[in-house]
C-alpha cells in the first residue's frame, strides 16, 4: 500500500512538472505581456515608454528566457510560494482563496443535486426499461445531454431576466450579490442564493443527464450478466435483483466518475462563470489568460492538475474499496 502510494506520488509529480512546463511555455509565448496587454487595452495614452517597460520587465522577471522563468517559478512553488498576480497586485494564493468559495457554492450544489436526482432517475430508467414512461424520460435526458450549456444559459437569462422582468419570478442576470457589504447576513445569503439559481441550474442539468444515462447504461450491462440469472434462480425479487445485485456492481464504474468530477468541483466551469459573471475560479482563469497574468495562470493550472491527479488516485482507491477483485498491490 505504502509503496503503491509512493509510486503514484512520484509519477504524479512527474506528470505535474510536465504539465506546468507545457503551460508555462504556452503562456509565455502568447503574444503580448501583462504590461502591454493591460495598460494598452485600458488606455492607450497610458502605454509605458520603453525604459519603464524594461524596468517593469526586470521586476517581473520577464527579461529572461521562459525556461529560466519556469525554473524560478518551480523553485518558488517548492517553497510554497505561487507568486503575485501581475494584474491584481495580490498573492495568487489569496486570489484563489477568494474565488474558491463562490465556485464551490455553485459546483458543489450542482454536484449534490445532480447525484441526488441522477441516481434515482438512472435506476428508475433501468427498472422500467422499454416501457413508455422510461422511453420518454430517456429521450428527455438525451435531449438535455445534447443541449449546450451556454445556449441553455442564454435561454434561461432571456426567460427569467428579460421576459419575466418585474414579476416575482425575475432572477438576476449576473453577478453574485447586489447588496452592499453591510447588509444583514440573512439578506445577503438570500440574495446570493437568488443569484446562484441560474448558474446552478445550468451546471446541474448537464451532469444530471450524464450521470443518469451513465447509471442506466451500466445497470443494463450488469443486468445482462450471468450472476443476475443466478440471483433470480435463487428466488430474489426484481427489486432485490436490481438494487442489491446489479447496483452493487454498477457502483464500481460510478466511483470512477465521482473521482473524475473532483477537479470540476473546485475548478468551476469557465463558460458558466463567464456567462453569469460569477466571481469564481473559471472566470479567474479566463481573465488571467486574457491579461497574460502568468503567475495566476500557472497557479490555477497547478491547482487544477493536482486536483485531477488526486481525483484519479481517489477513484482508483475507491475502486479497490468497492471491487473485491482489485487490490492496491
Amino acid at each position: 500500500m505504502a509503496t503503491y502510494l509512493l509510486r503514484r506520488l512520484l509519477l504524479g509529480m512527474l506528470t505535474l512538472v510536465a504539465i506546468t512546463f507545457i503551460v508555462y511555455g504556452l503562456a509565455r509565448n502568447m503574444p503580448g505581456t501583462p504590461l502591454t496587454v493591460q495598460m494598452g487595452e485600458s488606455d492607450p495614452s497610458r502605454k509605458l515608454n520603453p525604459e519603464d517597460q524594461e524596468r517593469m520587465k526586470r521586476i517581473y522577471g520577464l527579461d529572461r528566457p521562459w525556461h529560466e522563468g519556469y525554473l524560478r517559478w518551480l523553485g518558488n512553488v517548492v517553497r510554497g510560494d505561487l507568486g503575485r498576480s501581475f494584474s491584481r497586485k495580490q498573492p495568487v494564493t489569496t486570489l484563489i482563496g477568494e474565488r474558491i468559495g463562490p465556485t464551490f457554492l455553485v459546483s458543489g450544489t450542482a454536484l449534490v443535486l445532480a447525484w441526488l436526482l441522477g441516481v434515482p432517475l438512472g435506476l428508475y430508467a433501468s427498472a422500467r426499461s422499454g416501457m413508455a414512461d422510461e422511453r420518454a424520460t430517456s429521450l428527455l435526458l438525451y435531449i438535455l445531454y445534447s443541449f449546450p450549456t451556454f445556449v441553455a444559459a442564454l435561454f434561461l437569462q432571456i426567460v427569467f431576466s428579460v421576459w419575466l422582468r418585474g414579476t416575482a419570478w425575475e432572477l438576476p442576470l449576473f453577478g453574485m450579490s447586489d447588496l452592499p457589504a453591510d447588509a444583514s447576513w440573512a439578506a445577503r445569503a438570500a440574495d446570493i442564493a437568488r443569484h446562484a439559481i441560474l448558474p446552478v441550474t445550468c451546471q446541474t442539468y448537464v451532469s444530471l443527464a450524464y450521470d443518469s444515462r451513465f447509471i442506466k447504461a451500466n445497470m443494463e450491462e450488469a443486468v445482462r450478466q450471468d450472476y443476475i440469472r443466478t440471483a433470480r434462480a435463487k428466488g430474489a425479487g426484481p427489486g432485490r435483483v436490481l438494487f442489491h445485485h446489479a447496483f452493487r456492481n454498477t457502483l464500481i464504474p460510478l466511483v470512477t466518475l465521482l473521482g473524475l468530477s473532483l477537479p470540476g468541483l473546485i475548478g468551476g466551469s469557465v463558460i458558466i462563470e463567464q456567462i453569469f459573471t460569477w466571481p469564481g475560479m473559471g472566470r479567474l482563469f479566463f481573465e488571467s489568460i486574457r491579461e497574460r497574468d502568468y503567475p495566476t495562470i500557472m497557479g490555477l493550472t497547478l491547482m487544477f492538475s493536482v486536483l485531477t491527479l488526486i481525483g484519479q488516485l481517489l477513484a482508483d482507491l475507491l475502486y479497490c474499496l468497492v471491487d473485491p477483485r482489485v487490490s492496491v498491490e
Partner: protein, 350 residues
C-alpha cells in the same frame, strides 16, 4: 405421481426476423428422487426448456403454451407457467434449485461466498443472519470444500472453477429443494474436475433424495448418472426411455446416430448401432436446422439415413410408446429397434 410434469411446452423468441420456436411442444416428467438426463446438440432447445421451468427465459423469449406442474409431497400440483410472480419466487431456490453452466460468471463478483449462499437461505426461510450463515457453512461442508470457514468470507474470484461450481451447488441445495436443474454443470470444467462434480451430484442425490434434471450434450455423463434419458432434437423430444434401454436399444435414428458418433469410451451400444469395428467415428451428416427453418414433417428427416420419402416429410410423427416406458417419435421405431436391420440402411428415395 411424477414430481415435475411438463406438458406440451412451447417457448418462442420474438426477434425482428420473426418468431423462433426454440422449444416446440416438449413433454417430460421427472419422478421424485430420480435423475432425468435431457440430451441434445447445442441449439436443440434443452437449455431453453430448463430456463422455462423457472420462467427465467430472457427478454424476447416467451412461454407461449403448455403447462409445467410441480407436485408437493401430498400430490397437490401448481402450474409454474401461470403461477403468480411472488409465489413463483418461493419455488425458485426453494423447491427447485438451479445450477448453471458457467461457474466463472454465475456468482456475483462483489459479494462473499457466504453472503451469496446465506441469501438463498434468507430468501426462503425465516431465520436470522447468523443462522443463515451457519447454514451456509454447513452447505460448504456438504459440497466438500476444504477449509469452509475461511472460504465463507472469500470472494468468487479467489476460488477455482471447480470450487465455484461447488459453491453454486451449495447455493442450489441450501433450502433442500425437491428438484435440482443442472444446465450443463460440467461443460466448462476440466475433465478431472467434471468427474468430481458428477460424483458429488450423485452422492448428494443419494443422501438428500433430490431429483435432478441434468441437461447435457455428453452421453458419457448421462450413462454415469441418469435413471432416465430424454433426447431432444430441433425443439422436440424424439426419444425417452430408461437410461439402460437407450444405450442398449436406441430406437430413434437420431439417438442411434448420436450413440454412433460417440468415441469408444464405454459405448458398446455405439458399435452395435452401426459402426462395425472399422475404427472410424461416425458422424451425423448435415447440420442442426435453425428454428427459423425447421423442415416440415419429421424434423430429422433431411439428415436421417433411414428416411422414407415422401412419408417422413409429410406429417410430424407422434411420440408413441413402443415398449413399456420407451417413447419414440418415429413411425419405423419398431423395425429400427432390431439391431440386425440397422446394418442395412434403407435405400433412400431422393
Amino acid at each position: 405421481m411424477p414430481l415435475l410434469e411438463i406438458n406440451n411446452l412451447v417457448t418462442a423468441f420474438h426477434t425482428p426476423a420473426g418468431r423462433v420456436p426454440a422449444v416446440d411442444g416438449v413433454s417430460l416428467s421427472i419422478e421424485r428422487g430420480k435423475t432425468l438426463g435431457l440430451v441434445g446438440e447445442s441449439g436443440c432447445g434443452k437449455s431453453v426448456t430448463a430456463m422455462s421451468i423457472l420462467r427465467l427465459v430472457a427478454a424476447p423469449g416467451v412461454i407461449e403454451a403448455g403447462e409445467i406442474l410441480l407436485r408437493d409431497a401430498t400430490g397437490a400440483a401448481v402450474n409454474l407457467v401461470t403461477l403468480a410472480e411472488p409465489r413463483l419466487r418461493e419455488v425458485r431456490g426453494g423447491r427447485i434449485g438451479m445450477i448453471f453452466q458457467e461457474p466463472m460468471t454465475s456468482l456475483n463478483p462483489v459479494f462473499t461466498i457466504g453472503d451469496q449462499i446465506a441469501e438463498a437461505v434468507l430468501l426462503h426461510r425465516d431465520v436470522s443472519r447468523a443462522e443463515a450463515r451457519g447454514r451456509a457453512l454447513e452447505m460448504l461442508e456438504l459440497v466438500r470444500i476444504a477449509d469452509p470457514k475461511r472460504r465463507l468470507d472469500e470472494y468468487p474470484h479467489q476460488l477455482s472453477g471447480g470450487m465455484r461450481q461447488r459453491v453454486v451447488i451449495a447455493m442450489a441445495l441450501a433450502c433442500e429443494p425437491d428438484l435440482i436443474i443442472a444446465d450443463e454443470p460440467t461443460t466448462a470444467l476440466d475433465v478431472t474436475i467434471q468427474a468430481q462434480i458428477l460424483d458429488l451430484l450423485a452422492d448428494l442425490r443419494q443422501r438428500l433424495g433430490t431429483a435432478i434434471l441434468l441437461i447435457t450434450h455428453d452421453l458419457g455423463v448421462v450413462a454415469e448418472t441418469c435413471d432416465d434419458v430424454a433426447v431432444m432434437y430441433a425443439g422436440r423430444i424424439v426419444e425417452q426411455a430408461p437410461a439402460a434401454t437407450i444405450f442398449a436399444r436406441p430406437r430413434h435414428p437420431y439417438t442411434i446416430g448420436l450413440l454412433a458418433a460417440r468415441p469408444e469410451r464405454g459405448g458398446h451400444a455405439g458399435r452395435k448401432a452401426g459402426e462395425r469395428a472399422t475404427g472410424r467415428l461416425r458422424t451425423i451428416p448435415g447440420m442442426v436446422p435453425a428454428p427459423q427453418n425447421f423442415p416440415a414433417g419429421c424434423r430429422f428427416h433431411p439428415r436421417c439415413a433411414f428416411a422414407r420419402l415422401p412419408e417422413c416429410a409429410g406429417a410430424m410423427p407422434e411420440l408413441r410408446e413402443v415398449a413399456t416406458g420407451h417413447f419414440v417419435r418415429c413411425p419405423y421405431a419398431d423395425a429400427l429397434g432390431e439391431p440386425r436391420r440397422l446394418d442395412e440402411p434403407r435405400e433412400q428415395i431422393a
